[in-house]
């Protein structure tokens, strides 16, 4: 079957993996993660600045626009370690916004935004709407030409980190076609953003009301490249979240193992009971399969056909394995697992949220089936 890819790494990936492993561990201990859950902003601005200074927002941006000139493959190990340590910041949405501009932006738009993003300015994407459909083209928000201005209307949901973002890229319908509007957050009125209550308490998300928002005619991405832009956003989001979920699965399995190795019941360390040991092994096996798919997806990034199959397999397997491992972690922690203090719920909630953002495992499989069998 020729749309199945292989696996490989680059030197840069491995270097970034090493740096990200210690950075994310050091900057995001669990106490801090929990403290930030109650914080309005939701992340440490100092850490965000350091992420920018490390050049991580510039990785997949071409050198001509102030970037490092690598690809999404090198973003993967960073997102993986962020997920592993629940280090949640606008890193993912900013990376996505840059990919959207790269896919659909004209020279002027790229020249304006990419160097900014590369040097640490946060951005986000506004894609979801009230119908709850993962199909990025099934939208009703609209854009209408009015002289040399464009008037937007409708509501976008699940716009993550919108209060921090300088740029919001929103999908809208214009004359029946999907277009992407570049909106500077500074032009939004005070009531345009409503903070949403979301299942993942480590993230921040907003509903964006576009009614009354007006942008310039040249603040729309290229009409001729809408299809590529949608594909790029879809796959980049799939890859980033697959990486985060993979790291999260590793973390929640380690967290469970720690408990299984120390907790005693009936005079025995509970990890010696096969009723707990065997399903934990199964979850670990599924996690390793997810990580294999992840680095295959990174390796296949940008390849026609193979790239999409690999990303969707990685997203499906990561979502299945993260969900399952976290679900069993809650159960295996017994009474403590039912409390908010147990970290298993942080992961279970994040797996639900990530699936909601990019499409859960069943959705990924339904997209895959067409590519594999038809």
């Amino acid at each position: 079957m020729d749309n199945l890819g292989t696996i490989g790494t680059t030197e840069e990936q491995i270097e970034l993996m090493d740096v990200a492993t210690s950075f994310c561990r050091d900057k995001s201990p669990i106490d801090k993660v929990r403290a930030l859950m109650d914080d309005e902003l939701g992340y440490d601005p100092q850490v965000w600045q350091e992420i920018g200074e490390l050049g991580w927002l510039a990785i997949a941006i071409p050198e001509a626009h102030g970037g490092v000139g690598l690809t999404m493959a090198e973003v993967v190990p960073i997102a993986e370690q962020m997920g592993r340590n629940l280090l949640n910041t606008p890193f993912g949405t900013t990376t996505l916004a840059a990919q959207a501009i790269l896919a659909g932006g004209n020279e002027a738009q790229q020249a304006k935004w990419l160097p900014k993003i590369a040097s640490g300015c946060a951005a986000t994407v506004a894609l979801s709407e009230d119908n709850g459909d993962w199909d990025l083209t099934n939208i009703t928000c609209s854009a209408k030409q009015n002289g040399d201005k464009i008037i937007l209307s409708g509501k976008k949901q699940l716009v993550r980190w919108a209060d921090s973002a300088e740029l919001i890229i929103a999908s809208v319908k214009m004359d029946g076609d999907v277009r992407f509007a570049l909106i500077e957050r500074s032009i939004l009125g005070e009531t345009a953003l409503r903070r949403e209550s979301i299942i993942d308490e480590t993230a921040r998300s907003f509903e964006l009301t576009l009614d009354g928002v007006t942008i310039a005619s040249d603040d729309l991405l290229d009409a001729g490249r809408t299809r590529e832009t949608i594909e790029k956003i879809d796959l980049a989001a799939g890859l980033i979240h697959a990486a985060e979920m993979c790291g999260g699965a590793q973390a929640v399995i380690d967290y469970t193992l720690e408990y299984l190795k120390t907790r005693k019941q009936f005079d025995k360390i509970i990890g010696s009971y096969q009723a707990l040991k065997h399903p934990t092994v199964d979850n670990y096996v599924e996690y390793e399969k997810a990580r294999t798919h992840l680095y295959s997806a990174a390796h296949s990034w940008g390849e026609q056909g193979r790239g999409e199959v690999a990303v969707r397999m990685a997203a499906a397997q990561a979502h299945t394995s993260y969900s399952r491992a976290a679900d069993r972690s809650i159960q295996f922690h017994g009474g403590f697992g039912f409390t908010h203090d147990c970290d298993a719920q942080l992961h279970r909630r994040k797996a639900i949220f990530d699936g909601a953002l990019i499409g859960d495992a069943a959705y990924q499989r339904s997209k895959l089936a067409g590519m594999l069998f038809d």
């Binding site: 079957m1 199945l4 292989t6 696996i7 490989g8 790494t9 491995i14 993996m17 590793q250 193992l257 299984l260 190795k261 360390i269 990890g271 010696s272 009971y273 096969q274 040991k277 065997h278 934990t280 092994v281 199964d282 670990y284 096996v285 390793e288 399969k289 997810a290 990580r291 294999t292 798919h293 680095y295 295959s296 397999m313 499906a316 397997q317 069943a362 499989r365 339904s366 895959l368 089936a369 594999l372 069998f373």
Partner: protein
């Protein structure tokens, strides 16, 4: 050690191997070929596979990286890898002498005497001497360390009494790698075990065939009744049987002894299953139009792709840092369980035809899928059951306390 070949040398060799397997591979001899060495049931199958292995060896495509002085080709492993790739490409039959080439051979090459290497290696490569394995016992399936077959030293001989079971090719083998108890008073069960390169064609050793759940034959039980073997058959010294047995498992990873090449178990061809699904009908429509079947088949594709890629990832230390033992230890569990589930799934494609079995002209693919499903248990049970594998992974890769 053989030099790493230049790109042009390797290319030339690969092309020759490719041409050889293209020319010589017989995929359909007119009877069903076994998918694994454990499924060899008839004389016809045995004779065909023995002859095939001899032919491959003589062409230089088996044992190509084993030392020349003992019958190997003395080449760098890259050559053997290229030959194995060609075998896979043309879907060549399996290598028959699995226990010889995969287990006994590497052990003898690693730790054997010069005399043993001269005596055993070449005829094992050519399939002249077939080997079998005597580890499991009727009363000690999963608990190998508890083997009770008695080996008592008398002068320069050992006298063997007891029984071994699940011996693949046991009725056709010339030698057996045998795990036997030489000391019943040892401080622990492992310390009393010794390892023998045991001749099969002697007085006091008899075999009886076991009829499998498939209705076919493939394994035997071997009985030892005052069988006398030379003390020279002892391998690795008295009391070292357990570590010898464990070593045979290590060679599978090919780190210490160059892999002999070929394969003893055929990989399931996923395209064959997709083909079957496409040719199956549900409610008057192609089966793969059914959303439930599509979803399940897609999940299988994800699993298959993960395990195939794992084989590559296992050789990438940069992606194996956190738990280096994880992937190697999980391979058997994941692969054998997947094959069981997948072959079981394939029965559901067949609708009413799932009722037929091998031997009926109405059976789909001559009953291949039913047979494969039933035979798949040999791998989820044999060589350490899936349940034992989970203990091993839990304890050795994840560091969980032992189950007792």
């Amino acid at each position: 050690m053989a030099d790493k070949p230049s790109a042009s040398e390797l290319k030339e060799y690969s092309e020759a191997a490719d041409a050889w397997f293209k020319e010589n591979t017989v995929r359909d001899p007119g009877f069903m070929l076994p998918l694994t060495f454990m499924e060899v049931g008839t004389d016809q199958q045995f004779d065909f596979l023995r002859e095939w292995q001899r032919k491959v060896y003589e062409a230089g495509y088996l044992g190509a990286s084993w030392p020349k002085e003992y019958g190997g080709g003395g080449l760098h492993t890259d050559f053997q890898r290229a030959a194995t790739r060609a075998m896979k490409k043309y879907d060549a039959p399996i290598m028959l002498n699995a226990i010889g080439n995969g287990w006994a051979g590497p052990l003898i090459l690693d730790l054997g005497t010069e005399e043993q290497k001269q005596k055993y290696i070449k005829p094992m490569l050519s399939a002249e001497d077939i080997w079998c394995q005597g580890f499991s016992e009727p009363e000690h399936g999963s608990d190998l360390g508890n083997a009770q077959l008695k080996a008592v030293r008398e002068g320069d001989e050992y006298v063997l009494n007891g029984s071994k079971i699940w011996t693949s090719l046991g009725d056709r083998a010339k030698y057996m790698i045998l795990l036997a108890r030489t000391d019943f008073d040892a401080p622990n069960k492992y310390a009393g075990l010794s390892f023998f390169l045991n001749p099969m064609n002697i007085d006091g050793i008899s075999t009886s065939r076991i009829k499998k759940l498939t209705g076919e034959y493939g394994f035997v039980q071997t009985f030892f009744s005052d069988a006398r073997i030379s003390a020279d058959c002892l391998f690795g010294g008295e009391g070292n049987g357990w570590s010898m047995a464990m070593k045979t498992l290590e060679y599978e990873r090919g780190a210490k002894v160059k892999p002999v090449g070929g394969y003893f178990v055929k990989e399931l061809d996923v395209m064959q299953i997709i083909e079957l699904a496409k040719n199956s009908v549900r409610n008057g429509k192609p089966l793969l139009d059914d959303p439930v079947m599509r979803d399940k088949m897609t999940q299988f594709m994800i699993d298959i792709q993960a395990l195939n890629l794992n084989n590559t990832r296992r050789r990438m230390p940069q992606l194996m840092q956190d738990r280096p033992m994880g992937l190697p230890l999980m391979n058997k569990l994941a692969r054998t369980e997947l094959i069981r589930e997948l072959t079981e799934f394939s029965l559901g494609f067949q609708g009413t035809k799932a009722g037929y079995y091998v031997g009926d002209e109405n059976a789909v693919d001559d009953g291949y899928w039913h047979r494969s499903y039933l035979n798949s248990f040999s791998a989820t049970i044999g060589g350490g059951t899936s349940q034992i594998q989970r203990n091993i992974i839990g304890e050795h890769a994840l560091g969980l306390p032992k189950t007792r």
